[in-house]
């Protein structure tokens, strides 16, 4: 799978944006896109007014990387950003069939 091409998507709180971008550029990922999104958290009116809801605003960062680089990025997301703990973020890879540059 080392020669495969993967579409990597990371969804996390917006405060992680700069650090995640730094990581992706360090790992030489290509076609990095930043998309602002929101989470689907449900909150009551009073909790919302008091600001007691978990962060709703999210950022989705997508990029293209080779299979081994994508694997390394996922490992770094666990070790550096603690994505294995709840309420931090998620990441996934989708195999890319063909690529034209």
């Amino acid at each position: 799978m080392t020669n495969s091409i993967e579409y990597l998507a990371i969804i996390a709180a917006r405060s992680y944006k700069d650090d995640l971008l730094k990581l992706l550029f360090e790992m030489k990922c290509h076609l990095v896109n930043v998309i602002y999104a929101k989470g689907s958290v449900k909150s009551g009116y009073f909790k919302d007014m008091l600001g007691l809801v978990p962060e709703e605003k999210k950022v989705m960062i997508t990029c293209i990387a080779t299979g081994d680089v994508a694997g390394k990025v996922l490992e770094q997301l666990i070790s550096k950003f603690h994505f294995d703990k709840p309420n931090t973020g998620i990441a996934y890879t989708i195999p890319v069939d063909k690529l034209s540059v």
Binding site: E6, L74, Y92
Partner: protein, 101 residues
């Protein structure tokens, strides 16, 4: 980390995303990410030189293959998706994931 999961993208007209999130939650999805988008159909609408695009929302969720198939089937059956929401749905195979508990 290798999974049998699918990244389910559901595109609906603006305002219908919460209904979709509620439905996919009832089907076993733990969460979803909502992205604002705009749709372009075959004939571009133009009023006084200003293009009018359709506001859309993309609901993205990571879910087991079987549950994804079930959701896609029920979306196909749901008449609301064909009329007001103008929903379309597609699933992509996910290779690896991080952060799903």
């Amino acid at each position: 980390m290798d999974t049998k999961m699918k990244a389910l993208y559901i595109i609906v007209n603006v305002g219908f995303s919460e209904q979709v999130v509620e439905y996919i939650r009832s089907q076993g999805a733990t969460g979803a990410t909502i992205i604002n988008a705009r749709g372009i159909n075959g004939i571009p609408k133009d009023i006084l030189g200003i293009s009018v695009d359709l506001e859309k929302e993309i609901v993205l969720t990571l879910i087991d293959s079987e549950k994804a198939d079930k959701i896609m089937e029920s979306i196909k059956q749901n008449p609301a998706f064909k009329s007001e929401a103008h929903g379309i749905c597609f699933a992509l195979p996910v290779d690896k994931t991080v952060g799903l508990n």
